[in-house]
């Protein structure tokens, strides 16, 4: 009677490795690189690769942060402003208050995590829509950044600190190493920990998660705090890279933070995709942005082209998903 067909083999390690769906996205990425190299010989120059790896460091971190929230079915559009807040708090503490960077950096990350957690608390305790709440909080945190800087630019950060933003180690930018470390930690957390399982559970069905005894509020607030903290790291690194901090720090990260994970196959409805998608999506975004410049697309066209590519990628992903669901 018993017809159990279970494929024998090693213990499953799928989420740490790349899933089947990711292969298509990586394929698209490789094709993109091939085309880029053909279009512009400078594309693979070491100078250009360094530029791209710097961009990837920042976008990779914010995409990882947003990816965590998208896996839950949530979103935080104030993530760029939170990043800016961390950078500004850090610069202010070091320059204006003479704090030791070893104290200022963790303190600024904590501020960012608290800002994220506050978003999460408002959303979960009052049962509000995360998009709407964080649009409001975007304005709050941007305003806070203006208030702290008084509209001025904070400069004169010490050299040994700005090294973290612009220096190199083992042949790669320090920022890229930081990003890779953050990414690996988040990857491990989502794939292998109790918290990661709960994250996917809540992302798939909040009701089903409650029925198996998972505290939906705790999981969501924690994820918002982690996302805020990660964004804070990116904001501090950008501040060091620019050797200054001003109110607009991190403002341009909203679009890539959402677009990258979605291009990488993380559904905005929650529970689908892996954090790998955030990284590869970020890489795709960076290459597209780079090739537009190298390919000589006029500066006024760049935004339009980037935006269109994002919409097309999202539409393709949705269509593919519908197609595979139909089978």
């Amino acid at each position: 009677m018993q017809q159990i067909a279970i494929a024998p083999g090693a213990a499953p390690r799928r989420k740490l490795r790349l899933g089947g769906q990711m292969i298509g996205i990586i394929g698209a990425f490789l094709v993109l690189i091939g085309i880029s190299a053909l279009v512009s010989p400078q594309f693979i120059s070491s100078y250009n690769l360094t530029i791209m790896s710097r961009d990837l460091a920042f976008i990779g971190i914010v995409a990882t942060a947003q990816g965590l929230l998208l896996l839950l079915g949530d979103i935080d559009v104030s993530i760029g402003a939170i990043a800016g807040l961390a950078g500004i708090v850090c610069a202010k503490m070091i320059v204006d208050m003479g704090a030791d960077p070893a104290l200022a950096i963790p303190a600024a990350i904590l501020v960012a995590a608290a800002a994220g957690a506050l978003n999460g608390l408002i959303i979960t305790l009052l049962n509000l829509n995360s998009l709407v709440v964080t649009i409001g909080m975007l304005s709050v945190y941007s305003g806070l950044n203006l208030l702290i800087t008084q509209g001025r630019t904070i400069v004169n950060l010490p050299k040994h600190v700005t090294f973290l933003g612009s220096g190199q180690a083992f042949g790669l930018p320090v920022t890229l190493w930081v990003m890779l470390a953050m990414f690996l930690v988040v990857l491990f957390v989502t794939a292998r920990t109790v918290f990661g399982r709960q994250l996917y559970a809540v992302g798939n069905s909040r009701e089903a998660a409650r029925i198996v005894g998972i505290s939906e509020v705790r999981v969501r607030v924690t994820a918002f705090a982690i996302a805020g903290g990660l964004a804070g790291v990116a904001g501090i690194l950008l501040c060091f890279r620019l050797m200054s901090a001003q109110a607009t720090l991190g403002q341009s990260w909203l679009l890539p933070s959402i677009a990258a994970p979605v291009i990488g196959g993380i559904a905005t409805t929650g529970g689908i995709g892996t954090i790998w998608g955030a990284l590869i999506g970020a890489a795709i975004m960076v290459v597209i942005g780079n090739i537009i410049v190298l390919g000589g697309v006029g500066i006024y066209l760049q935004q339009i082209v980037t935006g269109l590519i994002v919409v097309i990628a999202v539409a393709l992903d949705a269509i593919m998903r519908r197609f595979s669901a139909g089978n």
Partner: protein, 520 residues
């Protein structure tokens, strides 16, 4: 001339035959009542009559025209579920579905729309204003509004009312019945679907009784039979179900596990029952009788609730699912797809999420142990899945359910609330689930509460049944009295259980009409 004639309608869905060779004829000026329990095929029949569903075979003839599978303007339909535009006015709700603002103009004029709504509203004696927002009026007015919407387009010949009285009070029901009287006097017909047998007896010109998608009883004015509640219950029971194999646990029940006294909450009040080791207790009742709400409140998924609950002699705290699970009380939802499985995750992780504490160390999950546990469930409960890495949504409903039950059992519970555990599951897998329920009651000595709309399931699996009607316990039925007529009478609020409603004449329709303030 027969206004509506359905000939040999058959419709099947994967795993179920919803309608089997159903024929009905609706004569002008008649009220044709359709009765049957949940899942008898009433909804499918109505959807076929309105053209929402195309039958696999059979014909539908409305006013001498074949309208099989398409909507006919001669039929007006008031669905069971309210579907109103909550943020629009009463008048807009009446006329919008007809695509007009109460006149011929393509421009919308609120004053004209409100004026046009008044006559229809007065006909039903609605007390709200045409300009009120639909979300602000009472539930009963909302129900009347839905009916007003159908009456507003006056060219129909047949009006179909699907459980229109559920939310109405006596005077409103009286008004509705008067409108039905006006329509039939004009030579139009009404198809009336209800669970309330007194209404059937009051209204009917003809009655069709459905069970398992088949017509099992029919009477009309030409019949000489005496039609009373007993007749209807008898028709619904038919020759009785061939129970075949019984799945009731056969060992004597053990000590009392849970004691519920006077529990009230959202959708139910004053509920009392006991649950013992090794027994299957059925919660029988119509949809909306409060079955799921009781279980969810005790488990803690639904917040609120007051009354006394004791678990193994200790006071039980409501409102905390985590604590309930930790103490050995588990609930499996009837909404398997949205409240049970994590659709996009592999089978292995679906198992793991329910057992995270056992399968992790220092916050890190062991996929190997998840897999081993999953393989054990797969083997123990004969689950068919390609691998432990298959997304659970690709498994059949029965196999999903076995995974969920198996996962629940791994946590070592003492009480399990199973809410419609075989909904959407094919016949073969149902027997597997029944066997599993009996096994855990007998071998693990657990107390099981089985919530089911299926009479057959209740009768075959339960040692004892708590019958619920409109949020209250209408009867508790022991194993020796457990038969279809008793349970049906209790969940329909009719028959011996409600005998006290009868007056002196012995003709129930007179008394009920009198009680509801109707002129007969």
């Amino acid at each position: 001339m027969t206004l509506l004639r359905a000939e040999n309608l058959t419709k099947s869905y994967p795993g179920v035959v919803a309608l089997k060779d159903v024929s009905i004829a609706v004569e002008p000026g008649h009220v044709h009542c359709i009765v049957g329990e949940n899942g008898a095929g009433k909804s499918t029949l109505v959807k076929t009559l309105t053209g929402l569903v195309t039958p696999d075979s059979g014909r539908l003839i409305v006013c001498d025209e074949d309208t099989t599978g398409r909507a006919s303007s001669a039929i007006a339909y008031v669905p069971q579920e309210l579907n109103l535009f909550d943020n629009m006015t009463v008048a807009e709700n009446i006329f919008l579905p007809a695509g007009a603002g109460g006149g011929r103009s393509r421009f919308f004029d609120p004053r004209r729309c409100n004026a046009a709504a008044l006559p229809v509203m007065q006909r039903l004696r609605m007390s709200c204003q045409p300009g009120d927002l639909a979300r602000d009026i009472t539930v009963a007015e909302r129900q009347l509004l839905q009916i007003a919407r159908a009456l507003a387009v006056d060219d129909f010949k047949v009006l179909i009312l699907d459980e229109p009285t559920a939310a109405l009070t006596r005077p409103e029901i009286g008004r509705l019945f008067a409108v039905i009287g006006e329509l039939t006097a004009q030579g139009r017909s009404v198809i009336f679907i209800t669970h309330r047998l007194d209404e059937v007896l009051h209204l009917h010109s003809a009655i069709t009784v459905l069970r398992n998608g088949e017509v099992v009883g029919h009477v009309d004015k030409t019949s000489n039979e005496i039609i009373d509640e007993a007749w209807i219950v008898r028709a619904m029971t038919g020759k009785g179900i061939d129970l075949g194999h019984l799945w009731r646990p056969r060992q004597p029940r053990g000590e009392r596990l849970m004691e519920v006294r006077g529990l009230s909450g959202k959708g139910f009040r004053d509920i009392s029952f006991d649950l013992h080791e090794g027994e299957v207790l059925g919660f029988a009742g119509l949809v909306g009788a409060g079955r799921s709400e009781i279980a969810q409140t005790i488990f803690g998924f639904l917040r609120g609730g007051s009354g006394e609950v004791r678990y193994r002699g200790q006071p039980w705290r409501l409102g905390d699912p985590r604590r309930a699970i930790a103490n050995g009380v588990i609930y499996l939802s009837e909404e398997r797809k949205s409240h049970g499985i994590f659709a996009n995750l592999p089978v292995r992780e679906n198992v793991g999420i329910g057992l995270l504490h056992r399968l992790s160390k220092g916050g890190i999950v062991s996929p190997a142990r998840e897999r081993a546990t999953t393989l054990q469930i797969v083997a123990d409960y004969n689950v068919r899945t390609a691998s432990t890495e298959t997304r659970i949504r690709n498994l059949s409903g029965g196999n999903q359910q076995k995974i969920l039950i198996g996962r629940g059992l791994m946590a070592g519970p003492r009480i399990m609330f199973l809410d419609e555990p075989t909904r959407g599951i094919d016949v073969g897998a149902k027997a597997d689930v029944y066997a599993l329920i009996r096994r855990i009651a007998e071998e693990e000595r657990m107390g099981i509460v089985l919530i089911s709309s299926e009479m057959e399931e209740i009768l075959r699996c339960c040692n004892r049944v708590v019958a619920l009607y409109d949020g209250s316990v209408s009867a508790e039925i022991g194993e020796d009295e457990l038969d279809m007529a008793t349970v049906l009478a209790a969940i329909m609020d009719a028959g011996p259980a409600r005998g006290d409603k009868r007056g002196a004449t012995g003709r129930p329709q007179d008394d009920i009409a009198a009680a509801r303030g109707l002129a007969v």
